[in-house]
């Protein structure tokens, strides 16, 4: 039992980046581009997260976020794809489709 608890603590401490677990869709944004954000509800069966630069500046640096907003798809800790906004601070219209395409591949690989 003790060993199991230790392992659980170990996994929790080393891999604290929970937002990258399993299939996760994360929107990195900021208050001044709120209008350009998209709803991640089409991905609600997976993990979805919204991060604001004002609150998670370090994380934005760690994840090398250059454009706002940016949507990143993670799978088990790895970045699968990122969709970035352009100069007009808008995400591409097919943003959801692009992410869905990658998710489809990830799911397909499980079967």
């Amino acid at each position: 039992m003790r060993i199991l608890l230790l392992i659980l603590l170990f996994t929790g401490s080393i891999y604290s980046q929970e937002f990258k677990d399993d299939i996760s869709v994360v929107q990195f944004s900021a208050g001044f581009v709120e209008d350009s954000e998209i709803e991640l509800t089409p991905f609600k069966v997976y993990n979805i997260y919204y991060f604001k630069m004002e609150n998670r500046a370090v994380l934005f640096k760690e994840e090398n976020i250059k454009y706002l907003p940016t949507i990143i798809l993670y799978h088990n800790g790895k970045e699968i794809t990122r969709v970035e906004s352009g100069i007009d601070l808008k995400l591409p219209d097919n943003c959801i489709e692009l992410i869905n395409k990658h998710i489809d591949k990830l799911i397909e690989d499980k079967f």
């Binding site: 199991l4 392992i7 659980l8 996994t11 080393i14 891999y15 929970e18 677990d21 399993d22 069966v45 993990n47 088990n76 800790g77 790895k78 799911i107 397909e108 690989d109 499980k110 079967f111």
Partner: protein, 389 residues
């Protein structure tokens, strides 16, 4: 105008139907695989051939004929077909093809590797050591954020095993990695635990306290006959007496009671028990179940732990409860002790899969599962260290 409306309605309906079918396809059939597969294997062979000697019926001491009695089996085979939509956990290696023999963790673990429908419908025929069997496995599960519904049926012909279960659970995720669940499970078992018909029959007493059924009378029940005979020892002149036993066809099968007991009686006892057990209907019981599931995966470290506990509140809904596992200790030499309550019990199932790639060359792994259902205990585990040069 009417035509236009009709056409619009047809188009709309077709479109709606198309969307519905697509939704059903996506949720139920997408990623499923239909397969037909089989294998052929060399049959079991004894290490040394078996021989016996056939003697001359008119002259026992003439040179006998040596006969090869070794059983040479034709090749073993397995051929089956099915449809499968079972997601693998990330630590499970993806196979290039499906042949129906895969044993995936997702079937044992309370929750699946993906949400939604998962199923396996597999049917196969196999031959093993010249005997042919039919095996089947039907599995259907729907996992949602807050629920698990699971149906399972399994038939394994070569071990005469049949199992059915149905469960419904409420699931509560705790964070992203842990979930606990609670609900009810219905399970079937065929075996009448604790009930040994031959023991009861042999220990029955009449009014005077004498055995009601002398052991050898079981032979008579199955058409065997005995007749008294005498044997003379020519060296000493001693005469002794015993019973010669014949089978229902009239062939001599034993030259004395002890011989009959040692060589024939065992099979008769098994036959008697099997016949009595076959008279009983299969059992089905319902009980509450709780479970916990932890899953963490990264390419260098993964841990999947799960446990199910079937609580000691079993209620039989099918089969004669007196012969069920609830009354496994209610049977003694005098028959059933009429303990109406019976004795409740706990059943468990747990698994742990752990892997750690410590460096590019060194890795540790452990995989284990423990199941205790009724009086059956199954332990499967493997542990190891890999070091790549």
């Amino acid at each position: 105008m009417k035509k236009l409306i009709t056409i619009l309605l047809i188009l709309l309906t077709t479109n709606v139907n198309g969307q519905v079918f697509k939704k059903i396809y996506d949720k139920v059939f997408k990623y499923s695989t239909f397969y037909v597969a089989g294998d052929i294997k060399e049959a079991y062979e004894t290490q040394y051939p078996d021989y016996f000697i056939r003697t001359d019926p008119d002259d026992l001491y003439a040179i006998p004929q040596v006969v090869d009695e070794t059983v040479y089996h034709p090749f073993d085979y397995r051929v089956g077909f099915g449809i499968r939509r079972l997601a693998r956990y990330d630590y499970e290696i993806k196979q290039n093809y499906i042949d129906g023999s895969e044993n995936m963790v997702g079937i044992s673990a309370p929750t699946g590797a993906v949400k939604g429908f998962e199923y396996l419908f597999h049917f196969e025929k196999e031959r093993e050591r010249s005997e042919e069997f039919v095996n089947s496995r039907y599995f259907l599960r729907h996992t949602g954020k807050y629920h698990i519904v699971k149906l399972e049926q399994r038939t394994q012909g070569n071990v005469d095993f049949q199992y059915q279960s149905a469960e419904v659970r409420f699931k509560l995720p705790i964070g992203k990695k842990i979930s606990i669940s609670a609900g009810a499970i219905a399970r079937s078992h065929q075996k009448a635990y604790g009930y040994n018909p031959i023991e009861l029959w042999l220990n029955e007493l009449d009014d005077q306290g004498n055995p009601a059924n002398y052991w050898y009378t079981l032979g008579f029940e199955y058409g065997y006959t005995d007749h008294f005979t005498s044997y003379t020892d020519y060296n000493t002149g001693n005469i002794f007496y015993d019973w010669i036993w014949r089978n229902p066809e009239g062939d001599i099968v034993a030259y004395g009671d002890r011989d009959f007991r040692d060589r024939v009686f065992g099979d008769l006892m098994n036959r008697f028990n099997q016949e009595r057990w076959n008279e009983l209907d299969p059992f089905m019981e319902v009980a509450p179940i709780v479970g916990v599931d932890f899953y963490h995966y990264r390419s260098k470290f993964w841990l999947h732990a799960y446990a199910n506990w079937i609580l000691p509140y079993h209620h039989y809904i099918k089969g004669n409860e007196d012969f069920s596992y609830l009354h496994r200790n209610s049977w003694g030499l005098g028959g059933h002790n009429n303990n109406l309550e019976g004795e409740q019990w706990d059943d468990y199932q747990g698994g742990l899969i752990f892997g750690w790639k410590i460096s590019k060359t060194l890795g540790l792994f452990f995989e284990g599962e423990y199941v205790k259902f009724w009086d059956s205990e199954i332990v499967n585990s493997s542990i190891g260290i890999n070091y790549r040069l």
